[in-house]
């Protein structure tokens, strides 16, 4: 019995088990937590982080780093709103936003892979450049959405669940599949695990990295659109600091910054832990300053638990 328990706790999916236990505890202890409305609100609050985490996982798994995601999300949101306002067609706006995201991501990828410039510096640079473009394009002010249909993206529901949550779920499924079952996913892990070996094995390392960043851009574009629709405007100051939330969700979910290790289930858990922490703190009415401390402690505890688990398992 204890052996079986141990096995479950220490197995591959141990983080998931920890999460389930934590979730049960929070549900019991925090009033109003386990209600339909709150669950939907919670899920909606992690949409942006969750969507971007899908590709950030690839980025980190390949030993790269992307700080520009927040700026791209904001910029893509601006583009979506401005393009649909100008052309009168929401579809064109969406396409423009995703395309802009893809272009920025592609530029990141090319600079990093081809010119061999450190990913941290490159994306720190594009983070500023893109933020600058978002500010310039709107003169620093938010741009309102003309067509109310645009709001419907975020407000509409399918089977009682808002569209953004569906989008998130679909992206989780897609990228989980891509990571585990496609050549692209395995190559990504291989590049992160041992770049030299991958190169010698004939993996087109440069191309894979460029693709990763381009995908990251596309996904940020999607996140930007949903965000703009949710907040009914394009805001040049949106999503500041998003990169840190996303990266910590990934790391919390067991993605190694040293590359080569990532699972989609881990990342989902990481994203949810962060979301639940925020949600529960607000439900419990914890004062703003103490929220900082609680947030830090939860981060530490989550990683510590996971570490204890894996070291009990004899891994390092």
């Amino acid at each position: 019995m204890t052996d079986r328990l141990k096995k479950i706790l220490l197995g591959e999916q141990g983080l998931v088990v920890i999460f389930v236990v934590a979730f049960a505890l929070v549900s019991l202890l925090v009033p109003n937590f386990l209600t339909d409305r709150n669950m939907l609100g919670l899920l909606q609050s992690v949409v942006t982080v969750g969507i971007v985490a899908c590709t950030m996982m690839f980025c980190l798994a390949a030993r790269d780093f992307d700080l520009s995601v927040g700026s791209i999300v904001a910029f893509a949101g601006m583009v979506a709103v401005m393009a649909s306002n100008t052309t009168g067609s929401i579809l064109l706006g969406l396409i423009a936003a995703v395309a802009c995201g893809a272009v920025v991501g592609w530029v990141n990828g090319v600079v990093i892979a081809k010119f061999r410039i450190n990913a941290l510096i490159t994306t720190l640079a594009t983070m500023q450049i893109v933020r600058g473009m978002a500010l310039i394009s709107s003169d620093g002010r938010a741009v309102g959405i003309n067509s109310p249909d645009f709001y419907q993206l975020a407000l509409s529901k399918l089977l009682g669940i808002p569209t953004p949550i569906w989008v998130l779920a679909v992206l989780f499924a897609i990228f989980g599949f891509v990571l585990n079952s496609t050549v692209f996913g395995k190559n990504t892990l291989a590049i992160g695990g041992n770049p030299e070996a991958s190169r010698l094995a004939g993996v087109n390392v440069d191309r894979t990295r460029i693709w990763i960043f381009t995908l990251q851009g596309v996904v940020c574009g999607i996140a930007g659109i949903l965000l703009a629709s949710r907040i009914t405007s394009g805001q040049p100051n949106a999503a500041v600091g998003l990169e840190l939330s996303v990266i910590s969700a990934c790391v919390l979910g067991g993605v190694s910054l040293a590359g080569g290790r990532a699972t989609m289930s881990g990342v989902i858990v990481g994203v949810l832990i962060m979301g639940i922490a925020e949600n529960a703190m607000n439900l419990l009415n914890i004062p703003a300053f103490y929220q900082y401390i609680v947030r830090g402690v939860i981060l530490l505890l989550a990683v510590l638990l996971d570490n204890l688990r894996s070291s009990a398992l004899g891994r390092r």
Binding site: N32, T35, R37, N38, L40, G41, Q44, S45, T48, L135, G140, R141, A142, V143, G144, I145, N146, Y151, L155, L227, R230, I231, T232, S233, Q235, P236, N237, A238, A239, V240, E278, N279, N282, L283, N285, P287, A288, F289, Q291
Partner: protein, 309 residues
């Protein structure tokens, strides 16, 4: 307080929970909650996304209404829709919501003071002080500590500039000192550059987004050796960092600050919301408050008049 009050839950959502200003608003709202016996839920929401989550969160907790100072006024339609979806009464404080067309959403009750007005008060205070000191406007330089990323900041400094220009200040003597962040150090660094680039100008005035920005400019003037009587800085806010200046043994170039009353904004809005929920008494659509200039010699009195302290 009735039995009904116990079930009343009101949200108070602000855009910058770390700022003393919002801390004060919360404090006074709490006071109202204590008096009337309702529950106040305080949530910080730094951007649009967090705000939307916060509203959902309030809905989930069973709140009946909330007061909000939005991170961006253009969020208007989104906030209104979200509040309706969660069946929450909505009132705004400080910043007034606008629609996609840029016009204020007049249906939403609001209490506040326009950014431009505050700026104008700053400009007027500076002009008065220059006159009192007998400065010739031509030989004075102006530091515009700017943070253009924030629309409110632009409105405030532009308000000040409009008064200066109207009083005959030379537009060419106004120099931009862009802060990279909104803290004092960034303002200090930016202002230092301006002062050094125009070493020939001996008399300076400074204005900006808040007290911290202006303080940065004043510190910069001290570090390049401009005496206190060669500097006129007027801030906005009137919180501790400004009061500290007045408490210093010797007067500094930080001449005054335009204080807005967090008491009215916090206490009254919470109370109005409670009345709306409990007694179905809808608040006025628009309540405008005024800022008051506080200086070294009268800041205690001004604060008392505004109900702070």
């Amino acid at each position: 307080a009735s039995a009904y009050a116990q079930d009343t839950k009101i949200g108070f959502v602000v855009k910058q929970p770390e700022e003393p200003w919002f801390q004060d608003e919360w404090k006074f709202a709490d006071q109202a909650a204590k008096e009337k016996g309702f529950t106040l839920v305080k949530i910080g929401a730094e951007d649009g996304e967090k705000l939307m989550s916060a509203i959902d969160n309030l809905g989930a907790q069973g709140a009946q209404g909330f007061v909000v100072c939005t991170p961006d006024v253009k969020l208007g339609p989104g906030i209104v829709a979200k509040a309706a979806a969660n069946n929450l009464k909505l009132m705004t404080v400080d910043d007034r919501l606008v629609g996609a067309d840029g016009k204020p959403l007049e249906d939403v009750p609001h209490m506040g003071i326009s950014a431009t007005k505050i700026g104008e008060a700053v400009g007027q205070a500076i002009v008065d002080e220059m006159k009192a000191r007998g400065w010739k406007m031509d030989e004075v330089g102006a530091i515009r500590v700017s943070y253009d990323q924030l629309p409110t900041a632009v409105d405030r400094v532009e308000g000040a500039i409009s008064v200066l220009k109207a009083s005959g200040f030379k537009a060419g003597n106004i120099f931009d000192a862009p802060q990279a962040k909104t803290d004092t150090e960034a303002a200090l660094n930016a202002a230092t550059v301006v002062l050094n680039a125009h070493a020939d100008i001996k008399k300076w005035i400074a204005f900006g987004l808040n007290d911290e920005a202006v303080l940065g400019a004043v510190r910069a003037s001290e570090s390049v050796g401009i005496p206190a009587d060669g500097m006129i800085g007027v801030g906005i806010g009137g919180a501790e960092s400004a009061i500290n200046e007045f408490k210093k043994p010797a007067a500094t170039g930080f001449v005054g600050t335009v204080i807005i009353s967090p008491k009215r904004h916090g206490y009254e809005t919470a109370l109005n919301m409670y009345d709306w929920i409990a007694n179905n008494k809808e608040p006025a659509k628009l309540t405008l408050t005024a800022g008051a200039l506080a200086k070294r010699d009268d800041y205690q009195k001004v604060r008392k008049d505004l109900g702070i302290e």
